[in-house]
Subunit: 475 residues, 2 copies
């Protein structure tokens, strides 16, 4: 009997490790006693003893006539983040938060990188891109290395023209302008629809890069709250429009960065109606739209309105380093083409041809299926780990697509100081303040889940969970 | 005797064709009678007859005790363009000239492309870039396809840091910001040193892309004339500075686009002294600086002043389609880094790594020697053809580097209409007006010589030469 105790303890440690690591995700069926006995070459009684401990710890649960299942994280209360802001007075964006450190380490594998929304090694279809590059060079020769025409390579615009059918969009190749990533597409849309001093609506929270552009253009903003499930709160926008006239409304309807929300069709229709009624342009940032964890690709708001400038990119789906994005400017085509011709008249020819090949060669859909699964898994595992290792008061979203988690701590939490402390431990995260025009949201932070979830990731979340309470000021 | 006549005529036609095609350039030794007799399997007397006709036509000349030489083009008067403008009142740039057509055909081999300054197939080191791309992908994997850090890949900044020693520049990798081509480097320099409404000095003529940026930023300009040999007329700038205060001065000291000039060291010193005295920034566009047809690489104006922002790119030396450029901002480093982080936070990672490899692997110097020779030859042949086939009143520069020719016709010539007519004949050229802030210079046009000079090129110049007189309004 003296050997039984260590054996079941060893088995318990192994199995609980696998659960925490996400090998057996919450809700999934846990291996039967018989299976584990065979697999780990231990006696049935050892397995039963180990499973009893797992049950005691709340890690698995027995269901009558069905076997064992991995238990959901202990806290059953609603752990979703709240809708964090209300419409405020028009403001200029004041804060200039240094992102340099986070971006600087985004390419450094010595760090566990939750800080930047970067696709990991398993996501980037490196081998395929490599062979496509060879093919493009062979086919086009020096022409693959010369200037693109001002609107972008026709091959890419044709491929995009076909793909956007999935979004309910119709645009001929000549109605598409390719850009250097999604950032340039948003910049062009803002420049085409506003002048310095104009008021625009932005979501709070929203992507920091867009807020930087808005501030740089000298625009004033009105902040519209975002529901972590359904996106921009249309009622709040409607209320703001009673008082203020806006030139444009920046919105991420699909798998919002940083809050993960997905805007229902009904809300899109309402937003489109408001745009019609109050004569403003909807700038739709759809960079994450292809990344539904399951189900259909959501449709563009342009289905409901002609007042939409659609902005896309392959940075989250194929490779950010190739800088390929696009604008479908609708009524603003001439102006966006003109502005593009001034500020950056040419794109990267090789990249455009490679991406055109990838979209056209039929591998993109298969690739998307694969990475949507990976992103879903990485998000779920990271979320589970946060719920396990962070204090009970921690809230975290459950995105239906994309790969960012929005973590909300109680008011008084200092995410900027927390970020600095995390960086010292070689873990990067993004503090909430950079996602807010007014510098609020310091009690929140974003965890991007682009990289594969492994032991190091788990350990990093555990480290962050232990660290977090120190950054909560007692009231 | 009946066969002698056709034979010498045939030989004459062949040889004069070779001269016009530039196979035997002006001033070079022409094959001896004996050599030609052997080479073409005709009798000595046939060759003598053919040579007499070549002499009659002014194509070759006999020099006593030395043999035959290819004659210089018939017109011996100074055929250099004149210094085309004087300092004027501060103005806003008014004209919005459509370049779209010219840029659109820059990738279309159905056109003879003098319109855009694009390196031809022989210039772009396609095979080397292709193998470097493979190497980079193998070495860096997915990391070659992820975001660059905000300032650019360190590999590229290190390589540049070493190369700029040739220019007399010293900058650590951290003092260099890489950009998406030279255009972005110029844009960042303008944004860092000016505010809308500020007055800056620009050269007339100067590169149209820069003029577009200047107008887009809402700057006013004062036009400074450019001498086709020695560049910006410093005396004219000094005179303007007595009346006006400027924020910055845009200058292309080396192998100026479009006028081909090279600023002597003495003039650089004077310009640097003026910058010191009148407290403005010199924005040095050095995109053509590596392309001296012979002799040393000219030094940066930064050798004489700390008030210089140096802008470079590989678009004319390696490949424009990779969009790799850089800024060496000196005192403006922080501001340019900040602006870059807002407007286009990331560059093309793969391109930066490939170019870093090319600059580092030791092949760049050999490559430069080769393409400097090619560009020189292409310019010389095109120039010779212009002097032969255009009317006598045509003036054309003789650049000491780079690959653009500036052609000046008498006042009253309409280069915009001429450009349209040329495009209909599938020949692209660039009308003078796009190189002028005030919309002048319609009597000039630019011929870029990036592509190999062949029969089609020669024929195109002959076509243009025949066409040109129709666009000269009689006074």
């Amino acid at each position: 009997m003296s050997t039984v105790l260590p054996l079941y303890q060893e088995l318990f440690a192994t199995l609980s490790g696998l659960i925490r690591a996400g090998t057996f995700p919450a809700g999934s069926r846990f291996p039967s006693v018989r299976h584990t006995s065979k697999e780990h070459r231990v006696s049935i009684s050892t397995v039963i003893e180990a499973y009893r401990r797992l049950e005691d710890e709340g890690l698995i649960e027995a269901r009558p006539r069905s076997g064992y299942y991995v238990a959901p994280p202990k806290i059953h209360a609603d752990r979703f983040p709240t809708t964090t802001s209300r419409p405020s007075k028009p403001i200029r964006i004041e804060r200039d938060t240094a992102l340099t450190a986070i971006m600087e380490v985004s390419g450094d594998p010595a760090f566990v990188r939750f800080g930047s929304a970067t696709p990991g090694d398993d996501i980037v279809p490196e081998a395929k891109l490599s062979s496509l590059t060879r093919e493009v060079m062979r086919k086009h020769g020096a022409a693959a290395l010369r200037y693109t025409p001002p609107q972008g390579r026709r091959e890419l615009r044709s491929a995009l023209s076909r793909r956007i059918f999935d979004l309910g969009l119709k645009a001929a190749p000549d109605e598409i302008v390719t850009t250097q990533g999604g950032t340039e597409a948003t910049l062009l849309a803002l420049r085409a629809t506003t002048r310095p001093g104009d008021l625009i609506a932005v979501e709070t929270p929203s992507y920091f890069g867009t807020l930087h552009l808005v501030r740089d253009l000298g625009l004033r903003v009105i902040e519209i709250p975002v529901d972590p499930r359904s996106g921009m709160v249309i009622g709040a926008l409607a209320k703001a429009l009673k008082k203020h006239r806006i030139a444009a409304c920046l919105v991420q309807p699909h798998f919002h960065n940083p809050i993960g929300s997905l805007m229902p069709e009904e809300n899109k229709k309402e937003l489109a109606a408001l745009a019609e009624q109050h004569d403003f342009t909807i700038i739709e940032d759809d960079v994450y739209g292809d990344l539904a964890h399951k189900g259909e690709r959501p449709k563009s708001i342009a289905v409901h309105s002609e007042r939409v400038i659609h902005c896309g990119s392959v940075s989250k789906t194929i490779a950010p380093g190739l800088r390929v994005g696009w604008s479908i400017p609708g009524a603003h085509l001439e102006e966006i083409r003109r502005l593009k011709g001034i500020q950056s008249p040419w794109n990267n020819t090789l990249s455009e041809l490679v991406i055109a090949g990838f979209l056209d060669a039929g591998g993109y859909d298969r690739h998307l299926r694969r990475i949507r699964g990976l992103y879903a898994e990485q998000c779920a595992k990271t979320r589970d780990a946060v719920l396990r290792y962070f204090p009970d008061y921690t809230r975290v979203n459950q995105p239906a697509g994309g790969f960012v988690l929005w973590v909300e701590m109680p008011e008084g939490f200092d995410s900027e100081a927390f970020t600095s402390a995390a960086l010292e431990k070689r873990i990067s995260i993004a503090p909430g303040t950079i996602f807010s025009a007014s510098g609020g949201l310091n009690h929140c932070f974003r965890l991007a889940c682009g990289f594969a979830f492994d032991d190091r990731t788990l350990e990093a979340i555990a480290t962050l969970g232990k660290l977090a309470p120190h950054f909560l000021k007692s009231p």
